[in-house]
Amino acid sequence: MKGLNKKARSFIGQSIEDLFTEMIYKIIGDVPQLKNKKSIVFSTEEPQHTLAKLYVDALGHRKLNPVEENVIENNIAQATEYITALKDKTKNNVINKVDGYVKNKQVKGQSLSREDLDEIVGAEMEKAGKHLHLTTMAEATKARNVGAGLDIIDVGVSQGTSDPTVFFVLINDESTCSECKRLHLMEDMKTPRLWKFSEISQDYHKKGDPTPSINGLHPHCRCTLTYLALGFGFDSSGLVKWKAPNFDAYKEQREG
């Protein structure tokens, strides 16, 4: 009942390490953590869509100021850590599951079945894939909204507002969740609910929180952060409409 030998353990560990290194390169981009793994990185095509590029897209491909660079670097480092943690978890899960299977077979004096092994490793990979999908979706939503948020602040400053008024464009269909409706629409379920940028949470959202989060309200959140300039409000259908030069739609919503 000795289970997996050292060589097999090491092979599994290295295979999963390589898989996730490729995934970090594909999802995040060429981050410093990949410095010593160039042989793997160079064997794959340069990815066209990464979190780093998503930030640049959301910021309209303009030159970043040092504060923006810092915010983006921190977010990218955090996303890399999430995927690295998933890699370690997957490595442990696959090794433990296969080791348990091998020990069971050894105790019973049976030989290993290729089909069983395929099923065990495949199931762990599938689980990791679902987790990776969730992480990628959540981090991409965060990249998109944080990028847009940084740009909104920039535009707000250029228009004399240090704390710009924002709202989330909501795709109102049968899939729209009640949490998105609660925080992104007024009681008429048509007019977007306005927020000051400073009110938007920078943390991950928990159901029931009083304000929306820049990271989205849930992993598959399709709502997008948008800016509303002074002078504009909404018509009866909830569409942006010019009101008057100094019209403050946020003040009107809050003070009635």
Binding site: I12, H49, P66, R114, M125, A140, A143, A229, V240, F247
Partner: protein, 182 residues
């Protein structure tokens, strides 16, 4: 993040922001301080220059151009809060073209006098167009990012599916091979 940005702005990191802000403040001050414009409604106040109105036909033409500009702006503003799938990009191009042509015509119209309502509304319209421009740019970037996000997630998951199958096969082969050796 807001306080960081404010700090960055104070330190002059936000390039061009000061000039743009100054322009914006001047525009707003102009609109606010111009005694011929009602600060509450944004509509011109009759300057009392009775008898200097344009002849009926010319006035109607100017009014028509102004109204068309208003309508195009209204339609464009309506697009801001629509999601990507509901947006007609050709319509946006048409509206932007209309706004540019009508705005230029109105600005250059020799028929306008300083007391004409549409001329008095021009600084407000200019401010409105400038703000729509800023919101539209943000909106375009946001929509490009939505597409990029979908491609990123889709591409990553396709890659994971293919690579994880390869790795699964390699792991199974290695374990079976190791067992054979023992």
């Amino acid at each position: 993040m807001v306080s960081n940005m404010q700090r960055a702005y104070q330190l002059g990191y936000v390039k061009g922001a000061q000039d743009q802000e100054q322009e914006s403040l001047m525009m707003e001050m102009q609109a606010q301080q111009n005694p011929q414009i009602d600060p509450n409604t944004g509509l011109p106040i009759d300057p009392g220059q009775m008898g200097q109105e344009l002849p009926g036909q010319q006035m109607a033409a100017v009014q028509g151009q102004g109204d068309e500009l208003d309508n195009s702006l209204d339609e464009l503003e309506g697009m801001m809060s629509k999601s990507e799938k509901d947006i007609d990009h050709d319509k946006i191009k048409e509206l932007l073209s209309n706004i540019r042509i009508k705005g230029d015509n109105l600005k250059n119209s020799a028929m306008l006098k300083s007391s004409d309502p549409k001329k008095l509304k021009l600084p407000i319209m200019k401010d409105r167009v400038r703000k729509i421009g800023a919101m539209k740019n943000l909106s375009d970037q946001k929509k490009a990012a939505v597409t990029a996000q979908a491609r990123l997630v889709e591409g990553a998951m396709d890659k994971f599916k293919g690579s994880s199958m390869e790795k699964t096969m390699a792991i199974v082969n290695e374990i079976v091979e190791q067992e054979g050796k023992e």
